[in-house]
Symmetry: C2
Subunit: 344 residues, 2 copies
DNA sequence: CGTTAGCACTCTTTATGGTTGAGTGCCAGC
DNA sequence: GCTGGCACTCAACCATAAAGAGTGCTAACG
């Protein structure tokens, strides 16, 4: 498998592009008819045979045209000749949607995946930040019933979370208000797990002479953290039905498999945040995800965040035969738009 | 179409049951082999021909067996010979799941549909009560940022709702706490829309000499209601993928159609709560739903509620070829279990 | 008169085989 | 190194045939 010649590369690109747009194995005849080549089918056949030997192309069966392998797509993506500009229509839609949202993190994320599902024939996907790692702006306790307490937590990035727990003693709403105020005054750029650490430390040190209020807040916090907030992180999907339009998922079995994977979310999350702290943009092609069920899918994702902090990744899931040159800029654009929106 | 003889009824039941369990058109031969008939195929053919003429059976094509029409299923369901008892295993699962839940309405509903999706090969469905019609137990305002306020509303049945809105003036959390306390003291068996009505009335009457606090609460409430809580009612589904196991949805087109309908939720909701204040148990078979996309589906639903008040309906969606004799008691059982859980 | 056996008929399903067309690999010649 | 030619392969398509399941109708039986 020596280095590819300029011609090999050109042919590979042509095959990939043709396959992306027509969805059918591409033969030497088709290729030679394209104005970008002045070569006979026979010559192209030789080149394609080379590319097959190197693992960039393969044949579904003898006497069919070639289709790109994961490796072929990978080479194509890594050497993309040119990206399609994000259409003004798309820009408008992103803008409208995001500006209309309330500023709540969850809503912004939802708008992001929604727009992706609208603008592409693929599935929009976004990973929610781990709530425990987000900087808390505000905590409020609300008495529901007896010892049952609702905690409302707001993060600086606008995430909103409700957590229910039981306190050890019955407390009045007035007391809870005082606790809330006290805790909020204490809060300064701490994450939820930071707060937890602090609470545990203070309790361990077991100093006497705390003022009464602090001791009570500590006790309440402990009951709160005892009930560890369940959902650590999560993904949101939109436009699952888009996939049904693609011929590669016409097979019921394959579709069932993918939809099951979507349902579980765990594996999607693993693929998304797999090597977190990764690249701004990431393209995962077919089997590269190391997820058996996703071997026919590609993911294009980009980081979104706030003030330099990465919060998660947003992007699309589609068949490996995906229009990368259009999708990559679009995903970048939306991730960027979301980050800007979060800044506000 | 005269009245059906005992024999006709017996044959109809046999056809329906056989079709439910085997999923294939049932012919006179098959039927005559069943020990419940001592009749020759020819005789049964005559009977079946009658039933077809009356609209209870039909043939997918000449020289195929008969399958029940919607009308056939309807007759069968209305005259169900016997219900299968809810298995002890099922009872256990329902109990475990519901007792483990926190008591929040949403969680109880989710557990209900989840269990249905586990226990049946169909889709669990539940309609959420219209929040504005629920009796409010508790309201709390939380200051998020400047004029941005989060309202936490808890209903007596344990539903929890967050509503964001902007107040006209900047208020401190302390002020909001006072408002919350004031409003909660005022609350007595009022629904959200009841409160709205009251607020509007008071504002209209425009009396002078209100105490200061009351006037402020009124103003705040008005800003709140100006931003009419969006989601009026909703449905939750679980186990959509179950449908993929049924041969009647092997066709990709039909499946797509149904999944699209699920996505929208509106039409499901319409079917569910269509004639609200309806029967405790309701079975809707195929085209009876008057929803084009659901013409191949049946719904079995039952009311759930609290203290005599109906909150919504819970049940399953499946193919018209559904195991009614097992599903009907099960849906009843779960609706009952949910209502009991809500009582607590 | 209800029931049954027989029979011709219909229609789906499955298998079979031939044909077509797209595409390949290889080779010889330019 | 490129190209044209040729034999070969294989999926897709179509027509035809045979099998199988089930029907409707009719005539005969108790």
């Amino acid at each position: 498998m020596e280095a590819l010649s300029a011609r090999h590369i050109k042919v590979l690109q042509a095959v990939v592009e043709d396959y992306i747009h027509r969805g059918e194995p591409v033969g030497s005849r088709t290729l030679s008819r394209s104005p970008r080549f002045q070569l006979s089918p026979a010559t192209l056949r030789n080149v394609m045979a080379d590319l097959e030997e190197s693992g960039f192309l393969c044949q579904p069966h003898t006497s069919a045209g070639r289709i790109p392998t994961d490796l072929g797509f990978r080479y194509y993506v890594n050497n993309l000749p040119d990206f399609a500009a994000v259409s003004s229509e798309a820009r408008r839609q992103v803008k409208d949607r995001l500006e209309g949202s309330s500023g709540r993190l969850e809503e912004i994320l939802q708008d992001g995946v929604f727009t992706l599902a609208q603008l592409t024939p693929y599935v929009g996907v976004v990973s929610l930040p781990d709530f425990r790692q987000m900087v808390v702006r505000h905590i409020r306790f609300v008495k529901l019933h007896e010892r049952r307490i609702l905690t409302v937590i707001v993060s600086v990035s606008g995430a909103l979370q409700n957590v229910l727990f039981e306190s050890e003693t019955v407390l009045s709403q007035d007391q809870l208000n005082r606790f809330s105020n006290y805790l909020n005054a204490l809060l300064g750029n701490l994450t939820l797990s930071g707060i937890k650490r602090m609470v545990l430390q203070e309790m361990a040190s077991d100093k006497q002479g705390y003022d009464e209020l602090f001791a009570q807040v500590l006790a309440l916090s402990r009951s709160f953290f005892a009930q560890d907030p369940e959902q650590q992180s999560d993904v949101m999907l939109d436009g699952k039905l888009n996939l049904l339009e693609h011929p590669e998922f016409a097979d019921v079995e394959r579709m069932k498999e993918i939809f099951k994977t979507f349902e579980e979310k765990g594996s999607i999350l693993k693929i998304l945040d797999g090597a977190l702290g990764g690249e701004q943009l990431r393209v995962i092609i077919g089997a590269e995800s190391c997820c058996q069920e996703m071997r026919h899918c590609s993911l294009v994702t980009a980081e979104y965040g706030r003030e330099g902090r990465t919060l998660g990744r947003v992007g699309v899931i589609g068949p490996t035969r995906m229009d990368y040159s259009r999708i990559i800029p679009l995903v970048n654009y939306i991730a960027d738009a979301m980050s800007r929106r979060l800044q506000k």
